[in-house]
């Protein structure tokens, strides 16, 4: 972990997105993102699991030519993990930059994925970076770092997924420009699956149609619907010759629920589109 946060890695160019990631815009999110960047505004991406939030950030980092520092937030992630810490190396104590400080120093994009999962003190750390101050206070160093114009803060957030206890506070939410990424339209999602996996367009379309029906069960038994990512997995398995039944059940049924009746219902929907 510490190694990954070592700023020297950036010197090696590890955080640059060198090849254009495949991304088909759902709407005006690319233009909105660019405008926010130009105006030094932070962005909050909202949307269900697997709807393309991370891919959008990667795409924009490539497009804007900025290094991308992605942090997958979790229960134990604290402000120190973002800013940096002292570590003991032999007889000496050495400071190691956290990803947030790395992004600030290098004018990169920091992407805090599922930010509400992290500890509350992280919000305290990021708040000064979201407003006009665009600064980062590192108490342990006794220093304030001012972010360059190229620096950008992006967080992602899945409103339907987190519990009430982990809801993002209004005071935080209202510091961001919000881009909502829902499920792509049928045509768009078909194109995504078709181009990402190489399956026939007809197969891709049937996968998307079935997924859209299954998504109707969200909050009716399912916590999450079939993500575009799962559809891509399904298409990939089909393309690699995995039997249809196995490919579909392992990506579009089993990951969604453990409930036997619900699984049977999903299988029946899949049977409407595929000869299982």
């Amino acid at each position: 972990m510490l190694e990954r946060l070592d700023s020297r890695l950036y010197e090696d160019g590890s955080f640059e997105i060198k090849e254009e990631p495949f991304y088909l815009p759902q709407g005006n999110e690319v233009a909105l993102f660019e405008a926010a960047y130009e105006n030094k505004l932070p962005i909050m991406l909202k949307g269900p699991t697997g709807s393309g939030k991370t891919r959008l950030v990667e795409y924009m980092a490539w497009k804007l030519g900025r290094p991308l520092f992605t942090v997958a937030c979790h229960d134990d992630l604290s402000g120190n993990d973002l800013t940096g810490r002292y570590i003991i190396k032999g007889d000496e104590v050495e400071w190691i930059d956290g990803p947030l400080l790395m992004a600030v120093k290098n004018g990169g994009i920091i992407y805090l994925d599922e930010v509400v999962e992290a500890r509350k003190d992280t919000t305290v750390v990021i708040h000064p970076l979201t407003d006009y101050r665009r600064s980062l206070l590192i108490e342990k160093l006794g220093m304030i770092f001012h972010a360059p114009d190229e620096f950008m803060l992006v967080i992602s957030y899945n409103p339907g997924y987190q519990s009430v206890l982990k809801e993002l506070k209004q005071s935080t939410r209202q510091r961001f420009v919000s881009i909502n990424l829902g499920w792509p339209s049928e045509d768009l999602e078909t194109q995504i699956v078709h181009q990402e996996t190489g399956v026939e367009e007809d197969t891709a379309r049937r996968l998307v149609k079935a997924a859209n029906k299954i998504r109707n069960l969200i909050h009716q038994g399912l916590e999450e619907g079939v993500s575009t990512r799962e559809l891509v997995y399904a298409g990939t398995l089909l393309k690699s010759g995995v039997p249809m039944r196995d490919a579909l059940y392992s990506t579009m049924t089993e990951p969604l629920t453990h409930d036997a009746d619900l699984k049977r219902s999903i299988e029946e929907i899949l049977k409407n589109y595929f000869n299982l």
Partner: protein
């Protein structure tokens, strides 16, 4: 002149002395006068042999003895043309040895001796002829048949192995003939061919082996000798030894089976090797303990069957035939004869294990119930399987048979009935239902065979109730949660499913029948529910009942044109 008279009187007196006791009166006088001329040619000791033979024959047949004596002058003349007095003595000496056991063979041998000598002379000189007769005489001490056969075959043997070889063969035959004359004779007969193929040493080995086998049974030894050239060609001497050992083992139970094993051994070795032969032989030995007929017959069929089915299966077939054979040999033989074709038919529906199972069940039924039912069931199998095949694949046929076999553990007659009604039952209640009927029948059979059998045949009251429970179909309440989620997914909102007599919708609810019994299989009944639910849902999803003014716009225009007036 006087001297001649005296000499003749003395000679005739000596001859009379030889013949007295068996002949008298005119016959004696006549024989004496006929034999007298021979006295000078073969001497008194020669005449003693002639008379001795005559005396031996006379004990059993006076007429034959007289005829023999009457022919002797002419015969001796002939013999003397081929040789000397010594030859005459040896010919008669051999005949006397043979006559100890059989006067007729001895008389025939005497008659044929000119011809035999004639043949021998083509292969050697007069001395050798005498040697051969001497050799036969020595063999005759052990067994006359062997000696006679040796004499008969000696020209051929001399031709192939020379006189020395003949002596060796004679020695071997004598050894064998001590205990088993038949074997010795056959050894002699086979010896030219065997010597050709395996040399004298090989012949010696075969002779030794035959003697050994003959202790178990001489027929087997004879057969072994007969087959030895072919067997040696195919399997070598060691192979012959192994085959002989197997046959000897089988002979402990049945010499007929052992002979069959021997006869079929080349074919077995070609098809399944020694190990296969050993296995089949051991298995047939077990059967032969109880029934040599079945064992021999099965052995005859084995080469054809052994590649198609397992040894276990052969055992079942044999056991069934044995049971049938106890009552009806004809049916048993027919059963065995039909085996190959029947097995081909069975193999269409399963593997070797399945065929073993079919015969195993019949065997069990024959044992627990009666063999006629077992045979009938076996004969009905192909038709039964064809019917079952309509309802599924080979697996179904196998499963049905396996279930019936399980039931047979408790009751043979119940199993038979179950098998007979299996296709009808599957037609009515499916395989799952059939499985339940079988399980229930097995339970009943533990209590009483009659009750179980009448249940399976549909003769008991509990049968109707049981079948009813199997054909109740699929209840809506069982699939309601699945259908509710399914409809929710299609429609995008939750809709209530309500039990009704048929399928319909009022827009707020979907009505479905309480139970679907269209099919035997639950899956197909569920599909029926799914089709009905989807049909009703589609009305709502695609707006069959949505009221749109635009839809009736054309109708309204036509109505206005036809009936309306301006302003209305």
């Amino acid at each position: 002149m006087v001297r001649n008279s005296i000499k003749r009187a003395l000679g005739e007196r000596k001859i009379k002395k030889l013949l007295r006791g068996h002949y008298e009166g005119e016959v004696l006088e006549k024989l004496v006068s006929e034999l007298y001329p021979l006295l000078d040619r073969v001497g008194y000791d020669g005449l003693e042999q002639v008379a001795g033979l005559s005396t031996q024959v006379a004990r059993y047949s006076g007429g034959t003895a007289v005829r023999l004596l009457e022919k002797s002058p002419g015969l001796i003349d002939t013999l003397l043309e081929y040789g000397d007095k010594e030859l005459v003595m040896k010919v008669y000496g051999l005949c006397r040895q043979v006559a100890r056991d059989t006067i007729f063979a001895a008389a025939r041998l005497l008659d044929e001796s000119p011809e035999i000598i004639d043949r021998l002379l083509k292969h050697g000189d007069k001395e050798m002829v005498k040697e051969v007769y001497g050799l036969s005489g020595r063999v005759a001490k052990y067994n006359w048949r062997t000696a006679v056969r040796l004499l008969g075959m000696s020209p051929e043997l001399i031709d192939r192995v020379g006189y020395e070889g003949l002596e060796k063969v004679a020695g071997l035959s004598s050894q064998v003939a001590k205990d088993h004359s038949d074997v010795a004779v056959r050894l002699l007969e086979m010896s030219p061919e065997l010597v050709d193929r395996v040399g004298y040493e090989g012949l010696e080995k075969v002779a030794g082996l035959s003697s050994q086998v003959a202790k178990a049974h001489r027929e087997i030894a004879v057969r072994l000798l007969e087959m030895s050239p072919e067997l040696i060609d195919r399997a070598g001497y060691e192979g012959v030894e192994r085959i002989a050992s197997i046959s000897t083992q089988v002979a402990k139970y049945s010499w007929r089976t052992a002979v069959s094993v021997l006869g079929m051994s080349p074919e077995f070795i070609d098809r399944v090797g020694y190990e296969g032969l050993e296995e089949v032989a051991a298995f047939c030995s077990q059967i032969a303990k109880k029934d040599s007929f079945v064992a021999a017959r099965l052995l005859a069929m084995s080469p054809e069957l052994v590649n198609r089915v397992s040894n276990d299966c052969l055992e079942k077939i044999a056991d069934l035939c044995r049971q049938v054979n106890e009552d009806d040999g004809f049916v048993a033989a027919k059963l065995l004869d039909e085996c190959p074709d029947f097995i081909v038919e069975l193999l269409k529906y399963g593997d070797k294990e399945f065929v073993t199972g079919v015969y195993g069940l019949s065997c069990q039924i024959a044992e627990d119930y009666n063999w006629r039912t077992a045979v009938r069931l076996l004969n009905e199998c192909p038709d039964l399987f064809k019917q079952l095949h309509k309802y599924g694949d080979k697996g179904l046929v196998n499963d049905v048979y396996a279930l019936c076999t399980q039931v047979a553990e408790y009751s043979g007659s119940t199993a038979v009935s179950l098998l007979e009604v299996s296709s009808d039952l599957i037609d009515r209640v499916g395989y799952d239902g059939f499985e339940k009927v079988a399980a229930h029948a097995a339970e009943l059979a533990k209590i009483g065979e009659g009750r179980a059998t009448s249940f399976v045949r549909g003769e008991s009251s509990e049968y109707a109730a049981f079948i009813d429970t199997l054909t109740q179909g699929l209840a809506l309440k069982k699939v309601k949660p699945v259908l509710a989620n399914y409809l929710n997914a299609l429609l995008g909102y939750r809709i209530e499913i309500v039990e009704a007599r048929g399928a319909s919708t009022d827009g707020a609810r979907i009505y479905l029948p309480e139970r679907v019994q269209e099919f035997r299989e639950e899956d197909r009944n569920f599909t029926m529910y799914k089709v009905m639910a989807t049909h009703e849902e589609a009305h709502l999803e695609y707006g069959s009942f949505d009221f749109e003014l635009m839809r009736v716009q054309g109708v309204a225009s036509r109505l206005r044109a036809k009936y309306g007036c301006e302003g209305t």
